[in-house]
Symmetry: C2
Subunit: 368 residues, 2 copies
């Protein structure tokens, strides 16, 4: 069965020293010669103002080498990957001109990889969201020149949520040129705040242990982003916008009841024109093209997602090649085969992604 993995990340093997180029620190580097790194491994690090480097993640060759990716896709049965940058590269914190240049470099790299293997890779660009006009310019280049179906953006831009007028202007441009928008958590709530505001260590400890920025912060981030586009009226203003939230919508699906009841019982705290969040989910009359990926790691949670969103709004996404992702993309979906109609399984494994990415029908038989 055809599998399209909507949620995978890629980086170039090398890129110029942006710290030197820009004249200030905070940029991400991929160090291939870091101590303890063997062949096929490298280390992600951030440049600090004092000239030092802070390492934060060891990665393997499958992050940058298309040949290794293709071999692993063959093993796991993934036909097509949507390639997006690693969210730490968003660089929304940086001067817009520098972030814009970095986005162009990353997008050119993704374009070159997908052009080399167009049957196996499709690109999602990154754009400097801190600068509306540059973001729109690069969005248009991604779609019109590089042939990408859309872009990946963060759940917030320097603490600004997705109901911000500047963000809406970018999303409006995306809708008008038919670009899809994949939303990925980053710069997580308290975690991000700490890094910027210099909170005390004691406060930081709220999420410091047990990988909680990733396990609690990211799902909460995604929930904030979804609430912002729903209650901020973004989905109503842009009914043709195809938007997809990663990690199965984070904590939104499991707390939808509370969120919907909150709006119903305290309408004074919501805009007068806001709607029940359930209106945007399953059903033929829903006013939005609002997708999530399938990355929930639990069959009961995936069942909940299918009931809430419908299989044609859930796209296989694995977070490849990171360990918090699904080791064999689509394995959880395949566990549901016995209880779903075959066209629903097809939706989950490829059809929803094809619709989101606006891919042409394929001879292998995409259901969309």
């Amino acid at each position: 069965m055809l599998k399209i993995d909507l949620h995978t990340h890629i980086l170039p093997q090398h890129w110029p020293d942006w710290t030197q180029r820009s004249g200030y620190a905070g940029w991400i580097e991929l160090a291939h010669d870091a101590p303890g790194c063997t062949a096929g491994c490298a280390r992600l690090q951030r440049s600090e103002a004092d000239g030092s480097r802070t390492s934060f993640r060891d990665v393997r060759e499958n992050l940058w080498n298309p040949a290794v990716r293709l071999a692993e896709m063959q093993t796991t049965g993934v036909n097509l990957q949507a390639l997006s940058t690693v969210p730490v590269m968003f660089s929304y914190w940086a001067k817009a001109a520098d972030a814009y240049d970095l986005a162009r470099l990353l997008n050119d790299h993704i374009a070159s990889v997908s052009a080399s293997h167009p049957e196996h890779f499709v690109g999602l660009g990154t754009i400097p969201m801190q600068d509306t006009s540059r973001a729109i310019r690069e969005l248009e280049r991604c779609v019109k020149e590089l042939g990408f179906p859309g872009v990946q953006i963060g759940t917030n831009i320097n603490g600004v949520n997705l109901d911000d007028p500047g963000v809406i202007e970018i999303l409006t441009a995306a809708e008008s040129i038919g670009a899809c928008v994949f939303v990925h958590p980053w710069d997580m709530l308290q975690f991000g705040l700490h890094a910027r505001a210099g909170e005390s260590a004691r406060t930081m400890n709220r999420l410091a242990r047990y990988w909680m920025p990733w396990l609690v912060g990211m799902p909460a981030e995604t929930c904030v982003a979804i609430c912002s586009v729903i209650f901020g009226g973004v989905l109503d203003r842009l009914p043709r916008l195809r938007v997809c939230f990663s990690h199965g919508g984070g904590s939104f699906p499991g707390t939808l009841g509370r969120i919907a009841h909150g709006r119903a019982c305290r309408p004074d705290l919501f805009p007068a024109e806001s709607r029940d969040p359930r209106d945007y989910l399953a059903g033929p009359d829903r006013p939005a093209k609002f997708f999530v990926d399938s990355l929930v790691h639990d069959i009961d949670a995936l069942r909940l997602l299918v009931r809430q969103f419908g299989s044609n709004r859930i796209a296989l996404g694995s977070d490849y090649p990171f360990p918090l992702g699904e080791d064999r993309p689509g394995a959880l979906i395949e566990q549901m085969k016995a209880e779903l109609a075959s066209e629903c399984v097809t939706d989950l494994l490829s059809g929803s992604a094809a619709q989101f990415l606006n891919l042409p029908p394929r001879p292998t038989g995409l259901h969309s």
Copy 2:
């Protein structure tokens, strides 16, 4: 069918001016004569350092008047309410001696209400968690002198999570005297941080709109609290402790797959002795008496909860008398009657709460 509502809040109608008594501001008051308040209404407000008052919630007589509560319980078919204070009253931020005195006042009030109607009310105390020895002293008074089955605590104590040694000492005392512990979110992540650290307004805006501190912050708070007791080994050290998390465990159940996978794929980020979080949920061999309440406002979410925790670990909880609660306590559970065994429905409506509260068997037929 017998209904026990584990999650209800109560306040005295009047209490002394704690700002005047302590000599500093930040205390909560219930203003019956606030502008716009009619008979049967009052306003919760906080005293500020400049002598002003900040109103934050209008409440009705059912918050303080037992007769009104009893009449509403008759209407909704609730036989027994567990009474706990409103979490804004925790006062963990205050000087311990002042918070201790306030806790004693609140607990004496709850004891007097439950003593007047022991067949309809049972008390859960509040204790000054910022001071381990005072907290244990008041915990013991609640159980041994006031006859409460246990206490309600917050999801954090001034930013400290529930895996803190001081908290564990209090929970150890609770286990040793057989006291149950009901955990309620408060002082929510970013929201709470802002109030303490004076973050900029822009940062505060992450959760400022759409009631997000309550709709996103509270579920995330509860998830942080559950991760802290699981991965911090608290449930392993205290296997006889009966602990219950409100709001159906917040965002934990819906993101359990991600949390379990995170621990499995990055064991280096977790204590060596930590276990799979699923070990603590359903199953006869689970190492903990770990409950949640039923307040999820969505039948699919309640189904997920029943599959994960089992009906004998889920207790009806309504958050009465607040609007974010379940208007008719148990209505969501009753929607599941057709698909559950009758003893499971009994568990959900009363049996799990009776087990958590360690109530004696009743002639009306508690299933426990």
